[in-house]
């Protein structure tokens, strides 16, 4: 009983340590891949970023529209409908943009990464690479990790921008808020600092979501069930850590 507990504890720290070392290896190998094998990274930016654009843009439009509706209905109780723009911009740029993009990203791109790498492992492609003296970490994992890290901030700003247009569409065109007030109130309240905070957040979320996807895929049990489980764990862990980190970063920036 105590031995079991001890074993579990040791196993927990082993996984934790292995994860740190894995992250460190990804980071140390990143610069050389960026410099010498940039075409591999481009391919992954395409997979993780460009292919996620549709879902990001559609969701952004509708999240912005909801903010327009909700903002209007609650702000009109205080006769402050003109602040709908400020409300939508603050929510989108600082919170919803980075967070929802990260959740969608881990659902759309993270799962694809995890299952792809898991399946490569299950079909012994990674072992085959090692036989040919190619480090699968450099050839397969690092480009995918970097692709995710580069794509996430870009996706988040696209999300926020489209969301603002969604809010404009609902607030100004449907509900009749004055367009001038919508933008000018936003411009007087929102500071460049807020936008940098949003971009910083999305960068951190990009690192976290891609890291977990790559890690889970690489450590998947090489069976059909194992790959499936790894995919699920990717989404669950990414979502939890993104939301916890969001809270922490917001608290620090306050």
């Amino acid at each position: 009983m105590i031995r079991d507990l001890w074993y579990t504890l040791v196993e927990f720290f082993r996984t934790f340590g292995a994860f740190q070392l894995f992250f460190l290896r990804l980071l140390t190998n990143s610069p050389s891949i960026l410099l010498h094998r940039f075409n591999l990274v481009v391919k992954q930016v395409y997979n993780a970023g460009a292919l996620s654009l549709v879902i990001i843009m559609v969701c952004g439009l509708f999240v912005g529209g909801v903010l327009g509706l909700q903002g209007y209905s609650s702000l009109s109780k205080f006769n402050a409908e003109d602040s709908v723009g400020t409300f939508a911009a603050f929510s989108l740029v600082k919170e919803l943009g980075p967070v929802i993009t990260a959740l969608l990203f881990s659902g759309r791109a993270g799962t694809a990464l995890a299952s792809e790498i898991g399946l490569m492992k299950a079909t012994d492609q990674l072992s085959a690479m090692e036989m040919m003296a190619i480090d699968p970490l450099r050839r397969v994992l690092v480009p995918r990790f970097l692709g995710g890290v580069i794509s996430m901030p870009l996706l988040a700003v696209v999300f926020s921008t489209i969301g603002l247009f969604g809010a404009h569409l609902v607030g100004v065109n449907m509900l009749g808020v004055d367009a001038g007030a919508f933008w000018s109130q936003m411009q007087t309240t929102l500071e460049p600092k807020d936008i940098y905070e949003g971009i910083f957040k999305s960068f951190v979320f990009g690192v976290v979501a891609s890291l977990f996807a790559v890690w889970e895929g690489y450590n998947a049990i090489p069976t059909a069930e194992g790959v499936g489980r790894a995919t699920t764990r990717t989404v669950v862990i990414s979502a939890i850590s993104v939301l916890i980190l969001d809270f922490m970063i917001t608290a620090v920036f306050m």
Partner: protein, 157 residues
């Protein structure tokens, strides 16, 4: 070959779109409040009470923003608050004896400095100090003054 080309075009479009979005957000949504502060002169004013005036609060004249507060500090020697603000140098014809008051935009809005033109021939310039100032209105003081006046009215009657 054809496929890598499609990938590269797609990636290029995606990154360009992202850059365009960053550009839009930084330039269109976060305004510089139509005052750049690039070419300006600084002026000081002393207030008994600055209320909740903060750095970067606008300085306006006739409702137009012409400058920005750069610092609000307490002067222990004269026991009042020294507010330093910069005014865009295109407004170099503001009379020296203009008065500065701390106003509130809207009922719950933030505080700003309003300048009221005086009649002097000399203009404000770098380093000059505004002599006539009016402190922020503190709601609590107003209420207590009101109550106090009522009391004294009762006593006198």
């Amino acid at each position: 070959m054809q496929q890598t080309r499609a990938v590269e075009v797609g990636t290029g479009l995606f990154v360009a779109l992202g850059m365009a979005a960053i550009f839009f957000l930084t330039t269109q949504t976060a305004g510089s409040n139509n005052f750049s502060g690039a070419d300006s002169f600084s002026v000081t004013a002393r207030f008994d009470n600055v209320g909740s005036l903060k750095d970067k609060a606008p300085v306006s004249m006739s409702g137009v923003t012409i400058g920005r507060v750069t610092s609000v500090v307490f002067d222990p020697a004269s026991l009042d608050a020294v507010v330093t603000f910069v005014i865009d140098s295109q407004y170099d014809r503001i009379p020296e004896d203009s008065d500065a008051s701390i106003l509130t935009s809207g009922l719950l809005g933030s505080q700003y400095i309003g300048l009221q033109a005086g009649g002097s021939e000399f203009s404000l310039e770098e380093g000059s100090e505004i002599q006539f100032t009016q402190s922020a209105i503190v709601i609590e003081n107003l209420i207590s003054k009101y109550l106090f006046n009522n009391d004294s009215d009762d006593e006198s009657e």
